[in-house]
Subunit: 237 residues, 6 copies
């Protein structure tokens, strides 16, 4: 029933390749089916003004899509002169999600910026960015710990994200683009490794959903996140 022939609760194949760029303190290419996102983590000694002197660290994120990561070419945001509303929403979500898994006292006054750049898009780029972004973040933190710049691990738990939605009347896990563009209800679930929730965003466009459906989607999301966490842990060794 799904365009890809997948089961309702079946994820696309996930792979996470680490160390893909030589400059970043942490990096990976995450592939969820045909969605490919390059994630890099950059450590800086300065923090944003609003926490200067607090002893706390900060984790933030930026998101972008290459102009031809999509079926038809998108205008480059640097040419347009600003980031679009969708981009701003997504990068705020990535940053907030990753921070939920960080002990900012343990990190100390450092900022880690996670850049998520979509090389090829086929649905679910924000979830892939969070899941891959955590891997890049972890690798950068490992470098800090190895160098003794941080004593106790500031990462409380992996953070992973998966999309779910109602496609052709059925709850499905990990929507690809053909599903995403048809589904009247879809959203993202972001969780820690133990299934505790960080963020739920479930929205309908030209449709609505019941609490019972909401529960089915949460069940699917728990399954998906546990698989992603396994892939994350394998990647960071």
């Amino acid at each position: 029933m799904r365009p890809s022939g997948r089961q309702l609760s079946e994820m696309r194949p996930v792979s996470i390749e680490t160390g893909v760029t030589k400059h970043a303190e942490g990096s990976c290419m995450i592939r969820m089916g045909d969605t490919h996102v390059l994630c890099t983590a950059t450590i800086e000694d300065r923090v944003p003004p609003f926490i200067k002197g607090s002893g706390l660290g900060w984790v933030t994120a930026e998101y972008g899509m290459l102009p031809r990561s999509t079926t038809s070419r998108m205008r480059r945001e640097a040419t347009a002169g600003k980031q679009g509303g969708r981009t701003v929403e997504i990068q705020r979500l990535i940053g907030r999600s990753l921070r939920a898994g960080v002990d900012r006292v343990a990190l100390g006054e450092k900022q880690i910026t996670v850049d998520c750049d979509v090389i090829q898009a086929d649905g679910g780029t924000r979830c892939a960015s969070i899941t891959g972004g955590w891997v890049a973040l972890k690798l950068a933190v490992n470098k800090l710990m190895k160098a003794g710049d941080v004593i106790s691990d500031p990462l409380i738990s992996p953070v992973a994200a998966v999309s779910c939605g109602i496609y052709a009347g059925q709850p499905v896990l990990d929507l690809d683009y053909p599903e995403d563009s048809e589904a009247g209800v879809d959203g993202n679930f972001i969780m820690l490794a133990d299934g505790r929730l960080i963020e739920v965003q479930m929205s309908a466009e030209g449709a609505t959903y019941s609490r019972a459906q909401m529960n089915e989607l949460l069940d699917l999301a728990e399954k998906g996140v546990s698989e992603l966490v396994a892939a994350q842990l394998a990647a960071v060794g």
Copy 2:
């Protein structure tokens, strides 16, 4: 336990005053406690390019805060040269939520723009904007129907929104600013009058929440929305 002395499931007093500006096709001032939002609806005969010729209508929204609607003065976005990320997120949410209650075929090729301008802020401005925005929209649609420009009512159901969160370890309904700035978990629930969900956004910053808590928050939201819908229906007569 709540700073305002309210019960956990108690809303702030709600009032919706209609017809507050003479130019707009629909307008109201919604007050949820000390949060006051002026909502106006504007009807135009043109639609966005991507639906031109489709026969479908469009409902969109814009959101703004007066510079001194807040405790300390905020920079005017027109001076800053762009709308901030938070503003963009909120106005996209308002538009998407209102559209979920609209039969766009019945509306026909018209655009209705709902402007939500915060006169005074004390938490929950986006929820007040959606709830008040629906009232302005309804009044504008009534004008269209009276004039015979629209035959069958394009508004399927009231759309209302309420915030919930976990404050001092307890689930609470309709957070005001003192609660909002302390709560580690909070979000917004947007529903039709019958309780079907349009959008759930529940996010944690420096905290997480369980599925059980998610369920308690959904219960609170259902109570809040039913009270708001009653106020909306009273306002539009």
Copy 3:
């Protein structure tokens, strides 16, 4: 002869309601007929760089119109990415006019920002902004004096503004929008309570005027300003 049936030298009904928003140090809603402007005053301890360390205070103003304050909806300036030329002109005029009534030595190194936001427009919004802006400024200054942060009153005199023009060949006082859009000659007179001039801006578009007419307009303006000053003094008690 006037569309509203008013006498040539008759103002619209004026009301000034104070204390309309809980956060601002001073606030009022001024209504000149159907023109409604919300004015708030914000006190800050910092001054602009060019007077830092001089011991002098500063008063500045910003102006905006809600998108649907006008007959047809205007584009929101925050969306357009900048303030238009008309907005910039008006807010510079408001600031300059209010400063003419301020003893900046007595104020000391503080900045007061007066925000004038047009809720509903029917001509004469810049004059209403100056007249109402002075009331908000006065209320904020009263707060400073009560707290002992300022010793002697830095406000020398009320500052008020009124528009005049030549409509259908006749000099008229306080133009509303139907008159404003027809008048070939119109402008604004800003004065202290004793009638001394702060600013005269009288311009013609597709027309010209004689010195004799200029004098008649000045006579009207003096009458108008004296009525406005009475309303200001009543409002601030």
Copy 4:
């Protein structure tokens, strides 16, 4: 008493050199003492959208200052990314003033853009721009008439502008920069050749003025404008 040693009612030496650039349809360099402005007029067959098809013409103006036209270097507005508030005010004034002397029916559906670029500034640049701008406009119109593209002269009268102010307690004509930066009251008077008024802008900063002073300034302005009109007529032959 004046820094330059001039009499109270004495203008600076004025010269208007025409035909200073080979591309423009009309051009001149106007020099009022050390204030030098290059004015060019460009004729285009298109008019702004709001008068398309009306049969009426349009005259508009733009104003700029070279970065080192001033005592210390100013930031280039093209680098700053926008025209400043002062620039916008001035170019709107130039356009409005020139249009007051134009019969837009006689011009027909053409647009003439007058560019006024300050090569060297020593006070009074906006007045020099209007006075020189009219000369460039006249030369362009002459070209249209010679070519038979316009039948009857659309220029009703010369338009000229002069600044006046109160310097060291005395009303003075044609302020230079040292006077301008000291004067508490100053402004601009724009008139037709016969002395009828187009625009009066008289503003005080940290001062006020009486009606009697206003009258003295108007007397000075009439004298100044008549001298400028003589120079304009000599220049256009």
Copy 5:
């Protein structure tokens, strides 16, 4: 003598991997040592306004760097609100260079946009972009020819680019970043396969060079371009 141990006239290892993204009409990843650039070509049926109706085609290019393609993180241009001067220069060069190898009559009224996004930078990104950009362009053109949308091959010849410079007093070929940041003289040579020149840009910063040196650099460039053309032809089969 070179930091990499290369001979003066030795290029870095070059590889060109084609078909690296599924959406673009042509794509490759070019690697010149540690400089990696993703090039995609997009075919569109519309051409820029200035050649509409001319029957001629257009080839243009855009260039970007991922924020962490460099040793320390660069600010994202989309966040900065505009493309920097260096970016604008580079993308104009890429477009101009590629067009020199195109028969725009044979292409017909189509636009091909070549996007060059630097994944990892180690000097020479603009040359890699041109060389890889031609491969993406060729693959897109092949698709047009296969589909019969173009009859005769609009690509006259491969276009390739290489950097040369004077490092430690010696002329060297294909500078990497450590050389590039030290060299007082460096530049880019862009040629057709037969060695005819398209563009020479050789600039000194804090140094100068003689005609004899210019000739030595041209000799090196010819050697480098011939190796790059061999790699291009191998890649496009």
Copy 6:
């Protein structure tokens, strides 16, 4: 054969008038035929952040064109909201070229900004800007030396620039606009007085050129630059 009737190796008449504006530390109007550029040099005591404290000076340049310096009116860049790509390229080139002739240690921690504003354009404006810019720079440096603010002359040599190209199959020197708009190959050569090269930019659009032609163009450029240097030295006395 050339539209102007000049010989292949004949420059346009060159004149350099110094001291043309009273505020700038150095200024000249350079005229190469009908191309007229006003060049001013401004000395400031601050340097850019990246060399603060280094003891080194900085020379930078900005470039602009008056809207009607061209055959048809160009949009003012301040109105467009940014400098175009061509402007950015040119001003970077001017700055880089002038710096090549500066001993930045001898200059000390000062910044000199050279503004080049095109009053009238007829091809070759960037070359005229460099040649005239050096004269303005030299005059400003002379002022510094006279005042004892600089001990040894920081200007190593004159810097001059000339355009060359292939027009109607023949190499020509100093292209004017009619030639420039036809030539398939053209570029700029920037040299010291002794003929050592600072920058070569030779590009083809819809054409290519051989090494033999490159050599002929270099010969022409050497001739042109030597004539320009003579004019520069005459101008600075």
